[in-house]
């Protein structure tokens, strides 16, 4: 399945947001996720299904002023 993650196309096989984060080796606690411009709440990571060509934005905290 092709997903657009942070504007880059990736070929990844996963069913849910939770699966995707696991596949990407990302810790659920330190990321926030948008699916097609809508926020996915942390408690919904497991039940939110992904489909081909979904656009996913994954952000975290970085240094700033």
């Amino acid at each position: 399945m092709k997903l657009i993650i942070n504007s880059k196309e990736k070929d990844i096989n996963c069913n849910t947001v939770s699966d995707l984060l696991k596949e990407l080796n990302l810790n659920n606690d330190i990321v926030a996720v948008e699916l097609n411009k809508n926020i996915v709440h942390r408690e919904n990571f497991e039940k939110t299904k992904l489909k081909n060509q979904d656009k996913i934005e994954i952000v975290t905290v970085v240094g700033g002023g």
Binding site: I5, N6, K8, K10, L24, N25, L26, N27, D29, I30, V31, A32, V33, E34, I39, H41, R42, E57, I58, V59, T60, V61, V62, G63, G64, G65
Partner: protein, 255 residues
């Protein structure tokens, strides 16, 4: 020392410090400790999928420091609101340093967009700390829109030029009903002390500490400057006079 209250948050330290531009995260952590701060700012960015570095959160003890997410890099109210909402998802405290930039080169704030975003974020329950110009009208409007703190700049972000217009900050302070935090421009300890001496409720800085040759020592200098400045403000400075006034008795001089 009396506590600084911003929305429902309370602080003993009046220094807010950033997490950007340090030589490494170990130095940043030690600088935070030396600064005595209780609140550190962070930015939100896309995760680096190719080369995910060690996460900043591992270097911030959230029992000691409240993380204040910023909306740096946003140029519209819409972008800033989106960033604040994403920050909320990270289970960070429900407050935001709202920063909407209007010009890439000077990083000067866009007050119209900042005001628009403030109104919406306040409605959504955020404690908004709004970064703006050292301009009384902008500050008043943000306060009226429900900002819990207004943060006029001392000088452009990262410029280290100090408090360029002390009179503007004084006027803002005279009329403010919410805490005023001088944000941006603080290059060295005396800049922070001046901001506090004229009555600012706090100072937010990043580059002045992060890019100092010795960040940890500068962090401590900022802590001391802010405490000294605050005490001097509370103590009340003497008026400036044109002529001398002897400190020793003028009577009884032995001849």
């Amino acid at each position: 020392m009396e506590k600084l209250k911003i929305g429902n948050f309370e602080f003993n330290s009046r220094l807010f410090i950033g997490t950007g531009k340090y030589e490494n995260l170990d130095i940043m952590k030690k600088a935070h400790e030396a600064s005595g701060t209780e609140a550190v700012t962070v930015a939100l960015r896309r995760v680096n999928l190719e080369n995910e570095k060690e996460n900043l959160l591992n270097y911030i003890d959230q029992n000691k420091y409240k993380i204040l997410p910023n909306t740096a890099g946003c140029y519209t109210a819409e972008e800033a609101i989106r960033t604040a909402r994403l920050a909320r998802e990270l289970k960070l405290p429900d407050w935001v340093k709202l920063e909407v930039i209007g010009d890439k080169k000077t990083l000067m704030p866009d007050n119209e967009e900042t005001l628009k975003a403030t109104k919406i974020l306040v409605k959504e329950g955020f404690t908004v700390l709004a970064y703006t110009n050292d301009d009384i009208v902008s500050c008043k409007k943000l306060e009226e829109a429900g900002a819990s703190s207004v943060m006029p700049l001392g000088a452009p972000i990262g410029s280290g030029q100090g408090i360029l217009n002390q009179n503007n900050i004084k006027i803002i302070l005279e009329q403010a009903k919410v805490p005023i935090i001088v944000d941006a421009g603080v290059g060295t300890a005396s800049d922070a002390a001046i901001a506090m001496e004229i009555g600012a409720d706090g100072v937010l800085l990043n580059t002045g500490v992060a890019l100092a040759k010795d960040s940890i020592k500068m962090a401590r200098a900022m802590k001391l400057a802010i405490e000294a400045g605050r005490d001097a403000y509370l103590a009340g400075r003497i008026p400036k006079k044109l002529y001398a006034s002897a400190s020793s008795p003028t009577e009884g001089i032995s001849k």
